[in-house]
């Protein structure tokens, strides 16, 4: 069974969200990383872009597959994990820490109510 930290929120598209004040750190879950296999490219929208909840914010590509990334909360991209350009394997090896993908300044806190908690997420995988 994939590890699902209970301090995070989850989307049905297999992104995780960590909320600190009004900043959401976003990545993909271990379940998603394992299904994709070895990740080689992560391409995301540019800094300061405004996104609505569940808009596509990038693509993640493994040796065998490619998948769209959807932002779990509305807001502005304030940081992109640049380490991933040279080290995409961080997402496979440590998806909840070193493998975070973007940080978003949340524009609508109500979005959080539509996300899943860890036990709800566990049920859909």
């Amino acid at each position: 069974m994939s590890e699902i930290p209970n301090n995070l929120k989850y989307s049905k598209d297999h992104e995780w969200v960590n909320i600190e004040d009004n900043i959401a750190t976003i990545g993909i879950t271990l379940h998603a990383a394992e299904s994709l296999g070895d990740i080689v490219y992560i391409d995301v929208s540019s800094l300061n872009q405004e996104l609505k909840q569940f808009d596509k914010f990038g693509e993640i590509e493994s040796v065998k597959a490619v998948s769209d990334l959807f932002v779990p909360v509305s807001g502005k991209i304030v940081e992109v994990n640049e380490e991933l350009e040279g080290n995409p394997e961080y997402v496979n090896d440590d998806c909840y820490e070193k493998g975070w993908i973007i940080k978003v300044e949340i524009s609508n806190l109500d979005d959080l109510t539509t996300l899943l908690n860890s036990s709800e997420y566990e049920k859909i995988i």
Binding site: E34, G37, D38, V40, Y41, D43, E61, V63, K64, V66, E89, N92
Partner: protein, 358 residues
């Protein structure tokens, strides 16, 4: 779905299993495709390839039957040797690519899992009375053991039993009184062997390999390695309708025998012209071209991608493609349409990777 004799070992090793031509096969183990590929390039790995078809051609008519159905020069195929070749039916359709091994009084064909039934049916339909076709796939197991350390490891386990075994040669050896077929062939671009044994001996071989530090690798790594080595895969680079010349396999059409059913075809002007070329593509942008992606030169489509991956050896994405012959210009830049964007790529010679010979 069919299971090989190593199914339990795959599950015990936490493999990710996928349907491969009706077989439940490991695409990778927890190490992942990239690490598994690197192990084969740098030391030694092994693949369960028991799903591949193993067919014996026996009987007094075996030699003339082979001469009739394959484009090889049968006189150059010595006992104890193997050849890579094509099975082409009387409609000039390529049914398969395969390796033929010549024993003292019979032949062994190793064919693709996806084509096993069709190949055997066709061979049955064109064989004479004095030819026997035995499908030994289900009673045997097969492993491909590949990497620069493999020969050394085998010789140390087996008392130098394969010290004198050249490339594309094979022999039968005994391990714990079990007869094992060992061929110095492979599909990774590395040195190594492919072995066949009775099913019931499979678990012993698996343990022997693990105990000697050889790593189990999945079919995902095998595909990546064969693309780096510029090797064809049936259903991708080779299709029923392919002209062997177009896909760089002219050298396989060596038969001069009047008995060969496609003798006229392989010596015809028509086949020799060829309209396409198989090319290597090194991608200079981020992203992986996938099968069927169109290849553009300026604004025109010049061909299609047949296989694509991310090369861990080159640290770039690479692809094999088939393009109109006139556009096969080494170092030319082309564009590959991948989903909604274009990736720039440079045409290169195949293979992408060649091992250094010691």
């Amino acid at each position: 779905m069919s299971k090989t004799i190593f199914y339990e070992q795959h599950l015990d090793n936490n493999a990710k299993m996928v349907d491969f031509a009706g077989w439940d096969m490991p695409i990778n183990y927890p190490l992942g495709i990239i690490k598994e590929s690197n192990i084969v390039r740098n030391s030694s790995g092994f693949f369960d390839v028991s799903h591949m078809g193993r067919v014996e051609i026996r009987g007094n008519g075996a030699e003339s039957f082979i001469d009739k159905i394959l484009p090889i020069d049968i006189n150059s195929l010595k006992i104890g040797s193997a050849k890579y070749t094509l099975l082409i039916n009387e409609k000039k359709e390529i049914l398969d690519d395969l390796i033929i091994y010549r024993f003292t009084d019979y032949f062994l064909l190793i064919i693709n899992a996806s084509n096993t039934v069709e190949d055997i049916n066709w061979m049955q339909s064109v064989k004479g009375k004095e030819v026997e076709i035995n499908n030994i796939t289900s009673e045997t197991g097969m492993l491909a053991i590949q990497g620069p350390d493999v020969i050394k490891i085998f010789n140390s386990i087996l008392n130098n039993a394969i010290e004198d075994l050249g490339r594309y040669k094979f022999k039968n050896i005994l391990i714990e009184n079990n007869d094992i077929f060992v061929a110095r062939t492979g599909y990774t671009g590395e040195d190594g062997v492919e072995i066949i044994f009775k099913s019931e001996f499979g678990y012993k071989i698996w343990e022997l390999l693990i105990n000697n530090g050889v790593t189990p690798c999945g079919l995902g790594a095998r595909d990546l390695l064969r693309i780096e080595a510029g090797l064809h895969l049936y259903g991708h680079e080779i299709t029923k309708k392919s002209n062997p010349i177009d896909i760089g396999l002219k050298r396989l059409l060596e038969s001069e025998s009047s008995k060969y059913i496609n003798n006229d075809y392989i010596h015809s002007e028509n086949i020799k012209k060829g309209l396409f070329s198989m090319i290597g593509l090194v991608v200079t942008d981020r992203g992986i071209p996938r099968e069927e992606n169109e290849i553009y030169y300026k604004d025109s489509v010049i061909g299609k991608v047949t296989s694509g991956t991310h090369s861990s050896t080159l640290r770039r994405s690479i692809a094999i493609g088939i393009v109109k012959k006139d556009f096969n210009i080494i170092n030319n830049t082309v564009r590959i349409k991948v989903r909604d964007k274009f990736l720039n790529a440079t045409i290169t010679k195949l293979p992408f990777y060649k091992r250094s010979k010691k």
